[in-house]
Amino acid sequence: MVAEENLRVVRSGGSKLNFRRAVFSADSKYLFCVSGDFVKVYSTATEECIYVLQGHSNLVTGIQLNPQNHLQLYSCSLDGTIKLWDFIDGILIKTFVVGCKLYAFFASVHLEDSVFIIVNKEIPDGFQLASLKLPKSPSQEVEAKELSFVLDYISQSPKCTAFGREGQYVVAARDLYMSVYFFKKKKTFRFSLPSGNKKNCNNIFTCIACHPKEDCIASGHQDGRIRLWRNFNDNKNYTYTSLHWHHDVVMDLAFSIEGTSLLSGGRESVLVEWRGGIEKNKEFLPRLGGTIEHISASPGGDLFCTCHSDNKIMIIHRNLEVSAIIQGLVKDSVVNTGLMIDPRTKALVMNGKPGHLQFYSLQNDKQLYNLDIVQQEYVNDPGLVHIELMKAAFSSQGNWLATVEQRHEKEAELELQMKLWEFNEQQQGFILNTRINMPHEDHVTALCFSDTENSETPTLVTTSKDGHFKVWILTNDSDIYKQAMGWTCDFVGSYHNYQATNCCFSEDESLLAVSFEEIITIWDSATWELKCTFCHRPGKIKNLCFGRQTCSKYLLGTTEKSFLCCWNLLTCALEWSVQLSVIVLEPDPNSDNIAAMSWSSGGSDLFVFKPSEPRPLCIQKSMCREKVQCAVFVPRDVPESFISEDYQWLNKSQFYFLNESQDLMTFSTKSPEEKLTPSSKQLIAEESLPTTPFYFLMGKHRKQQETNEIMENELIYHPSAEDIPAISELLQTPAHVLPSASFLCSMFVNSLLISKGTKSAEEIPDDIEMESGKATDDSDEENDISEKVQKATNDTVIEDEIIPQLSKTQERELRKLRKVDYSWMCSL
């Protein structure tokens, strides 16, 4: 295969998407969100991740579109840099090194030369809003140190800082105080609210939003109230009105781009739209899932998006209809079910949303769907105890799914329910076959299936803290009314009333191992007779598994007192034991290897070994800082063929594990360089759509309105091809799509006037034209304007001499013009 580097631990997707507000691009086609050290660019139409902007070396804390150029994006990070990206092509343009941890980033159209950041200078809890001058320099890495503080002692969260209408003022809130700083007057006003000793009154600020057109500030509070502040350029005569619908914290607020409506959301997971700032006039979009953490509105005004605590971004249309869901790996606080592989779809399965089982495609890094196991409406309220999905197991062919759910309020009785789902091939979905109430009298600790193809009845074993393990088999329940198959209990086993903690079938399923606290019992699965017991005192058994394939005569167990033991089932003797505090013990289903992950203060270690061999195949010390929660081997579709001993264990399966911070990690053997270099096969298809006649006329008119002087320039320097087509298009276009004659006239005249001086441009053959286009493209990526001038062909030199500094948008405009169809020339 490829040249093999060291095994490296890499993050395998599933990272957090809801850390900060998502940002829309100007045309609402793209959505940006921070995700760990990266910024992800999603398409709002297809929910697909288009680019991952990598470059920061620490958590990205803020993103915002460049107000000067809406095709660029600023991002700031805890690594002390601000980076400027071209998100259309996914490339880094510039890096500004600030040198201290940056917690948030703001930029405003009206304050051109500087941007604002939240930094933490002295005291651990004191954050300042500072303005930063970004130096204009052609080099790629620029130091930016000109900090000037604007507001002191503000909140770390960017939600509590907002810029007002036309960048005239900035508002920041913390605890019970709100400060407004006016840039022109250089004056700060502070407003405070009473601490609220009254009932149901908690006035702590949680978020701030500013009206885009009026002098109005909206603030959200801990008790669910929203206040609209006006007249705040006066310390005494300020007023506020309050809106109250939320019964819990207002998590975020956002004004629509026109300012006509205010959006708010919180733990209720209902998006509330307040129209015109009047309390009566509100619309709701309920049942959105997890807590709404962030809300943002697109600059185009057609879309909103909400980020939810279940790692999801919902794109919502203006009329409050959900149009797309970008769903990451749902991170619950605990992974009760562990990691599993669905044998049918090869998807990773774990518990996701409350009461759901999530299916996650590892190949695409995308959630496939959530399977609603509990089927009860989820009410997001802190006081409620919900039914939780505790355990799940698939049979080896994926025909059966067993789930255990429980609800345990502190004083009340434990409620347990086990459901057995059959995969129905006709309907291609799971159908409930048997529901068992209280399968055990106490918590179910483990589940395992045995159904090889040759065995006739699938068998399920459940172990419980009530000291029993139960064997459930599929039996024929047919009677005269219907044909039915159902699960019934076949056998109940116990051992001296000890709690049963683990169970495991041997590979040929002739033996069942059940651990009872310190003792492992081996049962014959044909007669359910107790065959023998193993024990390695002291310490309760934590993990249990049989060896596979050539090592199927071994049984492995780990104890709480940090021993890993291997017993030989033929001699019934301890083969070997090692002192190792193993957390996860996971056998590879496709080979005889077993992975053990241990944890010490230095980090998690991985050991891969064959039970029959004394020497481990692979040792990875401190491969991950956090404790590993669970791990799984995922069979590869196409086996790899690593020759080196270190990776042979990865030939048939890929190894995934989940650490305590809920990151899904895996091992990569490719070198980082290889992964990063763009492949030579890269195929850059330029966007070249032939323009429609309508676009041609209308688009031109718009440009004219917006930037008159640029238009003039363009008309002078690029009078070339499109003018005469303009006439022809004008003549071809059906009358009903033509704009009004008043501006058609001026264009028509213009085109006639300048059509003479274009000969030089027209004579350039097509190919060279395109090459020059490419050349500018390349240099564009390096963002070096001066270089570009030299590379470009004659006519572009002339252009650039006349306008030496073209902005990015202008550049793009020019390039577009150059791409216009010249084929009509041939016919002349």
Partner: protein, 664 residues
């Protein structure tokens, strides 16, 4: 597999719709429907991923589709820093789909962004585009058309690189050789072009009708003796319109050979073909051919020279509806496309309607020559106005079996426990022996007593009715008897039923106890009187444990929730009976019985203290009147300390006590 990128379609027939799987892993399936929509589905979840309507979909309908080879998306900035952990790329992403139209233009659609990226028009075709092939290495795209030309496009610039006349009639199919240096084109005859010089390298006879699909089947020639120049010795496959034979051709070094090497026969003309490329000599080529009639034929063959007879398929896959419900006859479901998964062991099948096809992964382990999959297509009908959601709800219907504590099947049947729970069963065995001796004596007494009683009392209609009801299993009769609430009536009825009716009565009672609580309450006095009156008979039965095991479990599980209360209740009953008994003994002269029985009474009194109580536990608890609970609650706390005895006794012990009670 690499050759599966291009969707092939029959250029003449109107019904076949162009469709294609995305290369490398087949995560997406795209299909251009007859309504002009281009739809892309996720194969893993069968979810509609996007729906695109080209602006000119009515005039320029889509005639062919081709996914671009995957390209990597992660571009990094000019500077690179060492990072602790970087995201593992999800590999190269597929994002471009080339769409050929009926008017000759080619659209490049970006599936990631969901928008049209480019349109290849200028200098291209002026008639229907028949086939598009991406070059696997560079940015070239090849297309052929009814205008007899083949065009090489540069996708970067969206311009024509080269255009040449490919045939005297329309060119209907293209295929690029594995090394990327040759191009196969076909109208009716097949030509092999050198891509550098654009000259014809070989001619092949071809088919009688227009060739609809071309594919290379091997990466290396089977004979390794001669040096490999990239093309000589390779096999390729061709299928044509209205032709039920797929021909296999070999590129030979000598120029003469123009006929097919071998052929595969299928039932109808091929619509979609997928194959696994064989990388070495031993590995057979696996071929999946989707026919117009909706079947899939699978072939497995090692290509090795001539074969005169056309080969028939190893396996045929069909899909049909079950036909169980209202529609009386099962109707076939057409398969639209099939592709081998990357493990070569399973097949992705797309079937159903063009608007909402179902996508399923079928493993190919069975050796059967014919597979008929029964699928319910109704659940895939397109739904309108459903909110965007990513939650699937599995079916929970009332047909599912429900097990709860006390319902048979929730706990293991009792007979099993005798064999396995060794420690307990040993004890039990001893007890059994003891019981049996006592029992015989007791039973004799009772029988005689009963006979006497029978003689005395008049035969009531209730016992007769009950026995008849039990024998005929007549619900009406049973209801009439069992729904009475009078305790004396119940007692008398139970007293008078024959012994052979006891077990059926108990079974009937058990069944009714599992039902609705309201009706179960009525059964409790019946159960109580049966157990107290007929305990002696019951204990004589050898197979009592399996027969009444279910009843025992039921009682256990119901009593469990009120363990303390039932203990208290049992103790109180014990006290009351003892008090009553002592009063009796004081008042009544000592019984005129033999010494043997006196002895027994003493011994059993010690034992029966707790046993009797346990018995009462299970019996009395059925009538958990609210008042009782209320009144006894206070006492529960006081009596807690005294509850030190265990509840491990089971049926037999209870029955044992019952007999003793009777005897005393």
């Amino acid at each position: 597999m690499a050759a599966s990128g291009g969707g092939r379609r029959d250029p003449l027939a109107p019904s076949g719709s162009p469709c294609a799987f995305s290369p490398r892993g087949q995560h997406y399936f795209s299909l251009a429907g007859p309504d002009g929509h281009l739809r892309v589905w996720e194969t893993a979840s069968s979810r509609l991923h996007q729906d695109f309507v080209p602006s000119a979909h009515l005039s320029a309908t889509c005639t062919c589709l081709a996914w671009a080879p995957p390209r990597s998306l992660a571009k990094e900035g000019p500077q690179r820093k060492k990072r602790k952990s970087e995201a593992v790329g999800t590999g190269d992403q597929v994002d471009l789909l080339a769409i050929g139209t009926a008017v000759g233009s080619i659209l490049l659609y970006n599936t990631l962004k969901g928008e049209l990226q480019s349109k290849l028009v200028s200098g291209g075709h002026d008639n229907k585009v028949n086939c598009i092939q991406w070059h696997q290495d560079n940015d070239c795209l090849y297309s052929c058309s009814d205008d007899k030309h083949i065009v090489e496009w540069n996708t970067q610039t969206c311009r024509v690189k080269c255009k040449w006349k490919g045939d005297i009639s329309s060119v209907s199919a293209l295929c690029i050789s594995p090394d990327g240096k040759m191009l196969l084109s076909a109208g009716r005859t097949i030509k092999l072009w050198d891509l550098e010089t654009k000259e014809v390298y070989r001619h092949f006879t071809g088919h009688a009708t227009a060739v609809s699909s071309l594919m290379f089947t091997t990466l290396r020639p089977p004979k390794e003796s001669q040096p490999f120049d990239g093309i000589t010795g390779l096999y390729f496959l061709s299928g044509a319109v209205h032709d039920r034979l797929l021909n296999v051709w070999q590129v030979r070094s000598e120029n003469k050979e123009k006929n097919a090497v071998m052929s595969f026969t299928v039932t109808d003309e091929p619509v979609y073909i997928d194959l696994t490329l064989s990388e070495n000599k031993e590995e057979p080529v696996k071929l999946a051919v989707v026919c117009r009639d909706g079947q899939v034929h699978l072939f497995e063959h090692i290509l090795n020279g001539y074969c005169k007879k056309p080969l028939t398929s190893n396996c045929t896959i069909q899909i049909a509806t079950s036909g169980k419900d209202k529609e009386s006859t099962p109707s076939p479901i057409p398969i639209l496309a099939a592709a081998f998964c990357s493990d070569k062991q399973s097949l992705l099948l797309v079937y159903g309607s063009l608007l909402q096809p179902a996508i399923e992964r079928v493993s190919l382990h069975s050796k059967e020559p014919h597979m008929c999959l029964i699928r319910d297509i109704n659940c895939w009908t397109p739904k309108i106005g459903v909110a965007v959601t990513k939650v699937k709800t599995p079916v929970m219907n009332s047909e599912a079996k429900v097990l709860g504590p006390g319902i048979p099947g929730h706990h293991a049947a009792m007979k099993a426990t005798l064999e396995t729970e060794k420690t307990e069963s040993k004890k039990r065995l001893k007890e059994n022996e003891q019981i049996s001796i006592e029992e015989r004596l007791g039973a004799m007494d009772i029988d005689t007593m009963k006979e006497k009683r029978k003689g005395d009392l008049k035969a009531d209609s209730y016992p007769v009715l009950l026995v008849q009801g039990l024998e005929s299993n007549d619900c009406y009769m049973l209801n009439k008897v069992l729904q009475t609430r009078k305790d004396t009536l119940i007692r008398n009825t139970v007293l008078r039923i024959p012994v052979y009716a006891v077990i059926p009565l108990l079974n009937e009672l058990t069944k009714r106890l599992q039902g609705h609580p309201n009706s179960a309450v009525l059964m409790v006095p019946w159960l109580k009187s049966v157990l107290t009156i007929h305990a002696s008979y019951l204990s004589t039965l050898p197979d009592l444990v399996p027969q009444l095991g279910m009843l025992y479990q039921l009682m256990e599980s119901r009593v469990k929730t009120l363990r303390k209360l039932s203990r208290l209740h049992g103790k109180l009953i014990l006290l009351i009976t003892q008090v009553a008994a002592s009063e009796k003994t004081q008042g009544v002269p000592p019984p005129e019985q033999t010494a043997k029985l006196v002895y027994e009474e003493e011994s059993s009194e010690e034992e029966s203290d707790d046993e009797l109580m346990a018995d009462k536990n299970s019996d009395e608890n059925w009538e958990e009147d609210e008042e009782e609970k209320e009144s006894e609650k206070d006492e529960v706390e006081d009596d807690d300390d005294e509850d030190d005895d265990d509840d491990d006794d089971d049926d037999e012990q209870e029955i044992d006590q019952d007999t003793e009670n009777e005897m005393t």
